[in-house]
């Protein structure tokens, strides 16, 4: 077995001018796909996955707590004797859960206890040990893409964001393209070439080449999608279609691009920092859940047969205080709930280390503890999905032994 140092040397030797979009041929449905969804702002996980039997819950959430006993549209959907799902996810995520295509992992997160959005997001995206030297320009999805593309070049990666996030930065040049709004580029092919020539030998040449290549690929798919949408509108007139707006539109476009071209994707969704008036079955947070859930459902729909080999992981930097604050909101906390979805998932369950939710089990008498450290959870997942060797996994998450939670 190759040790970590040799492996890194081998990687470094091959990692020079690789462009993610050039690797690549159209993807077959059998190719594994992975989409990482980052909820920035620290969503209130105790509203997503509600502890069903905790009397403490009702006690400390008098205004924002959800109804756990009813069966109406505003009540929690029971998943098992311990946990219930937020009702905003009834029509989008719960059907996936019922089909065995969704898993929730409570008490997830990182050991970073700063409770700072920015520090915690960065440390998750870096995916490196909290102690000791950290390479601040190397995100773990970049390292995953580097490992997977070393020989096969079959796993093109794309960040569906306007800027390239830390998680996708690193030795491999990964492209980004925001898909909230898509428009035609003003620069024609001849002008593109003249611009590429200007950047030859310049520090930005990789970004410029990659940018033009990506632009052309995305244009092809978005044009195709427009044609299909017109066709769909004529044929099924919104039958069973979840109405999508905001993230829904974005997620559908990501679905199209990943179904056709990209094996590893990243997108982030903001607006989860609910310090004030977060609502309960309805309100701010419920609206965010609905939009997110609808988006994921639209994504799965757009993936078609490729959904069967797709895994979507939804994370956030931390959970929030278990008690509501003075403003019917919640403050920065610690443990959160990760979601794992996809046709490839062995789902319909809530997994990982768990404890009863009571005052005495809270971290520092305020937050969910972290019992399922994210690097070992994701390490276990990647090992199963891609058959990573221990040395490959060590390149992605140094010092981590993946924990197999039976996700796929």
């Amino acid at each position: 077995m190759m040790d970590r140092r040799h492996f890194l040397q081998a990687m470094a030797a091959t990692s020079l001018p690789v462009l993610s979009s050039q690797l690549f041929a159209a993807q077959s449905p059998a190719q594994p796909r992975f989409l990482f969804v980052f909820l920035r702002g620290g969503y209130d996980a105790a509203s997503l996955l509600v502890p069903m039997s905790s009397s403490f819950y009702a006690e400390v959430r008098p205004n924002i707590g959800l109804n756990r006993i009813g069966s109406d549209a505003n009540s929690v959907i029971g998943l098992n004797s311990d946990w219930g799902l937020h009702p905003a996810l009834r029509d989008n995520i719960y059907p996936l859960y019922s089909k065995g295509q969704a898993i929730f992992i409570p008490f997830s997160g990182t050991d970073d206890l700063s409770r700072s959005h920015f520090e915690t997001q960065d440390s998750i995206e870096l995916g490196q040990p909290l102690q000791g030297h950290r390479d601040l320009s190397s995100g773990f999805l970049n390292r995953l893409a580097t490992v997977l593309n070393k020989d096969s070049n079959n796993f093109p990666a794309m960040s569906f964001t306007d800027q390239l996030p830390l998680i996708m930065q690193g030795s491999m040049q990964i492209a980004n393209t925001g898909v909230k709004n898509v428009g035609k580029s003003a620069i024609d092919a001849r002008q593109s070439q003249l611009i590429v020539n200007m950047y030859q030998g310049q520090p930005l040449s990789k970004q410029v080449d990659e940018g033009f290549t990506t632009r052309d690929q995305v244009n092809v798919q978005m044009n195709a999608m427009q044609t299909e949408d017109k066709y769909k509108e004529m044929t099924d007139a919104n039958r069973n279609a979840i109405s999508t707006k905001g993230f829904g539109v974005e997620a559908r476009r990501i679905g199209k691009l990943m179904q056709q071209q990209y094996a590893i994707g990243f997108v982030d969704v903001g607006g989860w920092d609910t310090h004030v008036n977060q609502g309960n079955a309805n309100g701010n947070l419920a609206n965010r859940f609905k939009e997110l859930g609808d988006g994921i459902a639209a994504f799965s729909d757009e993936m078609g047969p490729a959904w069967n080999n797709t895994v979507v992981v939804v994370v956030s930097e931390f959970g929030r205080t278990f008690r509501e604050n003075g403003n019917r909101g919640t403050d920065h906390g610690h443990g959160t709930v990760y979601w794992v979805l996809g046709g490839a998932v062995r789902g319909g369950k809530v997994v990982g280390e768990q404890v009863a939710v009571e005052q005495r089990t809270l971290l520092q008498n305020r937050d969910f503890p972290v019992l399922n450290e994210y690097r070992s959870t994701l390490g276990g997942l990647f090992t199963r999905m891609y058959g990573l060797s221990p040395s490959q996994l060590d390149y992605v998450f140094a010092g981590v032994k993946g924990r197999d939670l039976g996700l796929v």
């Binding site: 700072s116 960040s159 040049q173 002008q191 611009i195 930005l204 990506t214 632009r215 403050d331």
Partner: protein
């Protein structure tokens, strides 16, 4: 393509003549100088610096006017004027047409309190039973209009103000004390926040910025402190003051410090109603009202606090002054602020030695921003970095427009607002309180570059509608970038590859586009 070439000497003579003509007006004189810096000590290391490169860094981008200024004044005098240590003489003021645009704005003509009162009426109409969809729409449209006024004003100043360093610092400090346009009715407060909480202090003492932002409704609403009250704590603002505004996340404070600062901040809020103070009995003389700012002693936690190793006796709003004193004198704050200033003005990864020197100045001068900047501008690190810093979207767009149009006033800022948004850095559009990142890796991704090229073409073609008036009249026409400044300065810094592509341009518009898309236009 063939372009008319002038000798460098003739151009400088032409430039001087033109300069004298323009420079009859003397601009706003420097404000009362409370700084510890003496003008004579400024710019000690600038002797060998290419003057244009200094302008590129201290301004939003070089244009014909600023290039002439620096040649007339010399780099030291130019720097003194930009640091407001010397009066701005022999420099043209903002064009009258730009001043007129700003003077006509609601945010110029009305106070925030008046604006808020009118909006409150609109909001009540829109919330009333049986209110029409139209009332709700009117309310939202007015908020959006005020937001766009503030954006337009900031853009016009960035493009045309002779106090370019001040304009950059307005952006820097707003970004440091970020508030977001999308939350509640903050759009109605942005103009005032920038004008009165940020702008007067950008070259003053850091403590004044902490005080001014902590007393402004925009900040108190954005970070929820208006909700923070005795027995209803909300620690959002307290945490961000320590983490983002002063000491930095590694500054050595604890969760306990955050909670204690939150207690200190209880009752600190605002009130837009024009009513007499509430009856507070024995707490009456504790009540503070200043404009929209309100300290309500009923909502304040009067217990003693343990903050950063000090006991702060519970005695009302004065506790906040004490806390801000401790924060602004803290070495962690000096370091954190110095590092951010260095990231902004020197570029990625400033050396620890430079940051240490800046922090030492910060501590020795009680946080005098002018003094810290002077230490930085006098450093070899600064001089060596000139011409090598990657522009963020704000710098890219403004520098392209300044180069293209010099002092010719644009009549419509909507395309500029749109470009900044497409590039991911709209003014007032950062949702989270950390503000936009200052490092180049945040802005040099593939998607960013292709969008920049689109914008280069929009500016180079002159077809974007920058000269479309409210009445719908448009005066299109492409800028002439192959001008004096190009032949006296820009051409000399372009690479052979760039020159080769420029030679293959099919039209002046395409030549403009390529120049604005060139690698040399991405750095300053």
């Amino acid at each position: 393509m063939q372009l008319f070439q002038l000798s460098k000497q003739r151009l400088i003579i032409a430039g001087l003549g033109c300069g004298l003509l323009l420079c009859i007006v003397s601009c706003s004189s420097a404000p009362a100088n409370t700084s510890t810096v003496k003008a004579a000590s400024v710019g000690t290391n600038l002797g060998s610096v290419m003057p244009e490169l200094l302008v590129e860094r201290l301004s939003w981008g070089i244009n014909t006017g600023s290039a002439m200024q620096v040649h007339q004044l010399g780099t030291v005098r130019y720097l003194q004027q930009q640091l407001q240590l010397a009066p701005m003489t022999n420099v043209p003021d903002m064009p009258q047409a730009v001043k007129d645009q700003i003077a006509a704005m609601t945010i110029t003509q009305k106070s925030m309190v008046d604006i808020a009162a009118e909006l409150e009426q609109m909001r009540q109409a829109s919330d009333a039973n049986g209110s029409t969809e139209e009332a709700r729409k009117n309310y939202q449209q007015e908020l959006n209009r005020l937001d766009r006024e503030a954006q337009s004003r900031a853009i016009l100043r960035a493009l045309y103000s002779p106090q370019q360093l001040q304009e950059q610092l307005c952006w820097f400090w707003f970004n440091h004390f970020n508030v977001f346009q999308g939350k509640a009715n903050i759009r109605a407060m942005l103009g005032d926040y920038e004008e009165n909480a940020i702008r007067p202090h950008v070259l003053g003492h850091f403590r004044d910025l902490l005080i001014a932002t902590s007393h402004h409704p925009a900040m108190l609403r954005y970070l929820d402190n208006e909700q923070n009250a005795l027995n209803h704590p909300n620690e959002n603002y307290a945490r961000e003051i320590m983490e983002l505004h002063s000491m930095g996340v590694d500054g050595g404070y604890t969760q306990r410090d955050v909670q204690e600062l939150a207690r200190i901040l209880t009752g600190v809020g605002f009130n837009f109603k024009r009513e007499s103070p509430p009856r507070l009995g024995r707490l009456q003389d504790q009540y503070v009202r200043n404009g929209a700012f309100e300290f309500n002693p009923r909502r304040h936690d009067y217990g003693d606090k343990q903050f950063l190793g000090h006991t702060i006796k519970g005695h009302g709003l004065g506790e906040l002054d004490e806390a801000i004193d401790l924060l602004s004198k803290n070495p962690a704050t000096a370091h954190f602020i110095s590092k951010k200033l260095a990231l902004f003005f020197v570029g990625d990864a400033p050396t620890p030695a430079l940051v240490d020197r800046l922090a030492a100045t910060f501590l020795a001068t009680d946080g005098d921003i002018k003094a810290v900047l002077n230490t930085m501008f006098s450093s070899p690190e600064f001089v060596n970095s000139l011409g090598h810093q990657f522009k963020d979207p704000q710098h890219y767009v403004y520098s392209a427009l300044r180069l293209a149009y010099d002092d010719k006033p644009i009549l419509n800022t909507a395309p500029v607002i749109n470009w900044l948004s497409r590039l991911g850095q709209p003014r007032y559009g950062k949702l989270t309180p950390d503000g936009y990142p200052l490092t180049s890796t945040a802005w040099d991704s593939p998607g960013q570059m292709t969008t920049r090229f689109d914008i280069a073409k929009a500016i180079g073609n002159g077809s974007a509608g920058l000269f479309r008036t409210d009445s719908g009249m448009d005066y299109p026409g492409f800028p002439k970038l192959s001008n004096v400044l190009y032949f006296t300065y820009l051409q000399s810094i372009l690479s052979q590859n760039t020159l080769k592509s420029l030679d293959q341009a099919n039209s002046p518009q395409e030549w403009n586009t390529l120049l604005l898309a060139s690698p040399e236009m991405m750095v300053r």
